[in-house]
Structure formats: C-alpha cells, structure tokens
C-alpha cells in the first residue's frame, strides 16, 4: 500500500539533491500543485517561488481563494492576471488539442518571464500519472495533451521537476491529508480550465456562462450530498455546448445554448462511472441554470457516459 509519510520523507531528500538554487512552481491551487508546493517548500524553503496565473478560465472566485491559500501556506508568490491575453490567444480556436497546446505554451512563456527576472532554473509541476499517460508518446496513443506534459513547447528554458509523476489523485490526497492541507478533498480541475468546458471557441462571453453554470452545479451537488441525498462525485461540473435550440421563455421565443451536466465517480480518473444524481437535484440544477442565464441558455442535458468510452472532460 502507498505510504504517504514514507513518500514525503524520501521525496524531500531527493528534492534537496535535485534542486540547486531557486525553483518556480506552477500553482493552480488544486490538490496536486498544493501538495507539490508543500513538498518542495519543505526541501528548499524560501528558494521556492509560486506563480498563480488567472487565465480567465478559472471558476467563480477561484483565483481570489488561491491567493488566500498561498498566504496561508506561507508561499513566496506572484499572482498574474493574464485573462485578456488568454482570451486573445484562443480567439477563433476550435480544435481541443490546439486549445490545450496554446494554453500549455502560454503558461510556460509566463513562467519563463518570471524565471528570467528572478534567476530561476527549475520549473516544478504537480504532474501526476494520468497526465503523462493520456498525453501519449512512443508506444502510447495520445488521448488528450495535458497542458503540463503534451502541451509543453518543444523549446523551453526551464528544467522540469515533477515529484508526483508516479502517483494517482487518491495517493496525492493521502499526502495532502498528512500535511493537513485544506484542499485535500477538492475536486480535480483541469489546467486549461473552463476553456475546455466550452466546446468550440472559448470566448469571454461563453466563459462567463459556463462559469455560472459550473458554480450552480457545484453548489447544488455539494448541498445534496451534505443532506445525504447522494454521494459526492469525484468530479462534477457543467459544459457549454455551442449548439442553439429553440425554447420559450416568458411567452417569447428563445434560441440559446445547451448546457450539459457532468458528474462521475472515480478514484484515479483512469476509469469513471457517471454519477447517479437524483432527479430532484437535476431538476433544481436545470431550473436554476436556465433562470439565471435567461436567454443565453434554454436547454440542460445530463451526460450519462462512462470512461471508457468517454473521458471525464469533453475535450
């Protein structure tokens, strides 16, 4: 069985040897990067610089919360709002692999800028097993290019350090619990963020819609599981499908987007079963989304596919 304490001790020793000088950590505030930051912090202390990028595709209030978290852990950090740049770079981009690669490169260029200023050689990432497995290469087929692996540019000036490479999420959570991190049970959120929860072009307007929809899905499901109406899923969110359908809202014709509700059970993201959300909860989610989004969304559907054949996220 995986032993978190043993892993921490060995990994801190290895990191002390591997990193000479300063290192930068790509910090999203999720379980993986927070555990990674804590580990590296233990190894090299103030020589670690955390960078959080607000891509414009974060969830509601997320970047604000991440700032608080970085303060709480006592990280030495930079907070960079690059949302307008990301919207601009993704303008007109529809292909999901292209989106992921543009985002991957963008992240690295931002990190390189900080690294140059602060004379940093190393880039620490919270990469875990499914990231490199699904990114493919050599024998393995590419399922999707994770921004931190398959999305990396061919040329970059930073040396990668990835202490969690062989772990799955459930094991990372064990370390997080060992460290008493508040994010230990947080649901996974992809690096490219809401950009891959918008099928087709990830415009700012669509990002606002899916951000609200994700917030409603999260709140309703968390509320339902607190009341014991359902088990908390591994991951639960909304996806914007850029197909318009006809509806009627207040005696007026409506012609808005479709939102899909997605919730799955898993321990490691390598296989998933769709979650059984009770109908009354689906009902509340549907009504809240369409009322809140007015004419922008007038249809809500529920994704009932397992992995395989699907994946958790739609892109």
């Amino acid at each position: 069985m995986f032993n978190a304490e043993k892993f921490i001790n060995e990994s801190v020793l290895n990191l002390k040897e591997e990193i000479t000088g300063k290192a930068l950590i790509a910090f999203s505030g999720g379980v993986d990067s927070t555990v990674c930051a804590t580990l590296v912090n233990k190894a090299i202390g103030k020589n670690l610089v955390a960078v959080h990028v607000d891509t414009g595709y974060m969830r509601k209030n997320e970047s604000k919360e991440v700032k608080k978290l970085m303060d709480k852990i006592g990280l030495n950090y930079h907070f960079i709002d690059a949302s307008e740049e990301f919207y601009k770079d993704l303008k007109g981009v529809i292909d999901p692999e292209k989106k992921r690669k543009i985002i991957g490169v963008k992240f690295i260029r931002i990190f390189e800028k900080v690294a140059k200023k602060e004379k940093i050689k190393y880039l620490v990432q919270g990469t875990i097993a499914p990231d490199w497995i699904e990114s493919g290469g050599e024998l393995r087929d590419t399922i999707k290019s994770h921004h931190n692996v398959g999305g990396l540019p061919e040329e970059m000036n930073l040396l990668l350090v990835e202490p969690l490479r062989d772990l799955y999420k459930d094991e990372v959570r064990k370390i997080a619990r060992e460290f008493n991190l508040p994010v230990a049970e947080r649901q996974p959120f992809p690096g490219p963020g809401l950009a891959i929860r918008i099928i087709g072009e990830a415009t700012k307007e669509r990002a606002e819609i899916v951000r609200e929809a994700c917030d409603i899905v999260e709140k309703e499901i968390e509320d339902a599981s607190k009341k014991g109406l359902m088990e908390i899923p591994w991951q639960y969110f909304a996806v914007l499908i850029p197909v318009k359908s006809v509806g009627v809202q207040g005696d007026r014709r409506a012609y808005g987007y479709v939102i899909s509700v997605r919730a799955v059970h898993s321990i490691d993201a390598m296989t998933c079963a769709y979650s059984l959300i009770p109908h009354e909860i689906l009902d509340r989610i549907s009504t809240r989304i369409t009322n809140k989004m007015k004419d922008k969304v007038n249809r809500v559907v529920y994704d009932i596919t397992n992995k395989p054949p699907s994946t958790v996220e739609w892109e």
Binding site: F2, I133, T271, N306
Partner: protein, 190 residues
C-alpha cells in the same frame, strides 16, 4: 516478496497494473516489451503481466520480445487485452476485429471454476476497452469466462500457468479486479 513485472505494450492502464501489484506488496517494475528474456530471468522474477496496448496492436503487432517470453517461461503469465490477443495468436488461435466492441461497464459471466477467479461471483461487473478479440481459441486452451458480446473473456493454457483476459482487472471499476490480481499473485508465489 513476490516479484512480478509488467511488460508495457503502450496501454492506457499499464501503470495501473503496476500500481495494483505494488498495492498488493509485490515487488514490481514496468519494463519495455523489447527487454530480452535473458535479462528478465536474471532478475529472478516469479511472474509477468502483459499489458494492453495502443489501438489495433492486438491484430498483428509482434509486441517486441513477447513471443520469447511465451516460448521460454515456465512461471505464470497474465495477458491483458492486447497481451491476451497476442497470447491467442502465438498459440495458434485467431484474433479479429470485434463485431461489437465493448467499452466501459460489462457483465462478465464465469463458465468454469479456476484459481484465477477464486472468490469471484458467477456474474460480476468488469470494465472493458477493446476493438479486437480472440475469436478462435488456440489449441490446449480453455475458455473460463464470457460476456454477452464476446465469447472469450478469459482463457487458460493447459500446459503452463498462462492466462489471457479480455477485460481489465487492473482498473478500479472492475468489481473483483484486485481479487483476480491477488489470485494471480498467489499463483506466482513459489
């Protein structure tokens, strides 16, 4: 400690096989399928798992040195998906594209009692992901399990402790996956 290596054929779940074995306190490592049998033997292993593979690899790929393992080994070998297909082909059976491929949740039905399925219910949930299948059983093999769309879900060689399974016991959603691995590990114990 039992030593079982995982031969990587490029499957999405190769690393999951490694993890399942490690969680069962097996000494394990992922090795490329180009490793020579001599090098494997040198390390004194007790068993091998042949992983699943990249798409369509099961139909005709040579899977590196896998034929050498099947020819020379006398320790237990468990072939999974592409590894199972190769075992089927190597011993003279046929592998063809499935009429109905299976992805995700499927009901497995055991046909014959065997050590590999000790403690597994006659019907259970397994997770699948395949476009091809062993459609004709090789000589000296017997079928241990089937599903609605695939008649050879598990097979066993009568001359050596070799098994092939079409489904994936290494993933979390396969109901008795860990138990099946445990049974295999038990067989490898000397």
């Amino acid at each position: 400690m039992v030593k079982i290596y995982v031969v990587d054929n490029g499957g999405q779940w190769t690393h999951r096989e490694w993890r399942t074995l490690r969680d069962l306190d097996v000494e394990t490592k992922i090795i490329p399928n180009t490793t020579s049998f001599e090098d494997i033997i040198k390390e004194g292993i007790d068993g091998l798992v042949l992983s699943g593979g990249a798409p369509r690899i099961g139909l005709k790929d040579e899977l590196g040195n896998t034929s050498e393992y099947l020819e020379k080994a006398d320790f237990p070998i468990l072939g999974i998906c592409a590894g199972h297909h190769f075992m089927g082909r190597f011993f003279g059976g046929k592998v063809t594209p499935s009429k109905t491929p299976e992805f995700g949740k499927i009901e497995l039905q055991l046909i014959k009692k065997d050590r590999l399925f000790n403690g597994v219910s006659e019907k259970s949930i397994v997770w699948e992901s395949h476009n091809d299948e062993v459609s004709e059983l090789p000589e000296d093999f017997e079928v241990l399990a089937k599903s609605e769309s695939c008649k050879i879900q598990a097979m066993k060689y009568s001359k050596k402790p070799f098994y092939g399974v079409q489904f994936h016991p290494e993933v979390e959603h396969t109901e008795y996956g860990e138990l099946i691995f445990k049974n295999f590990v038990n067989m490898c114990e000397r």
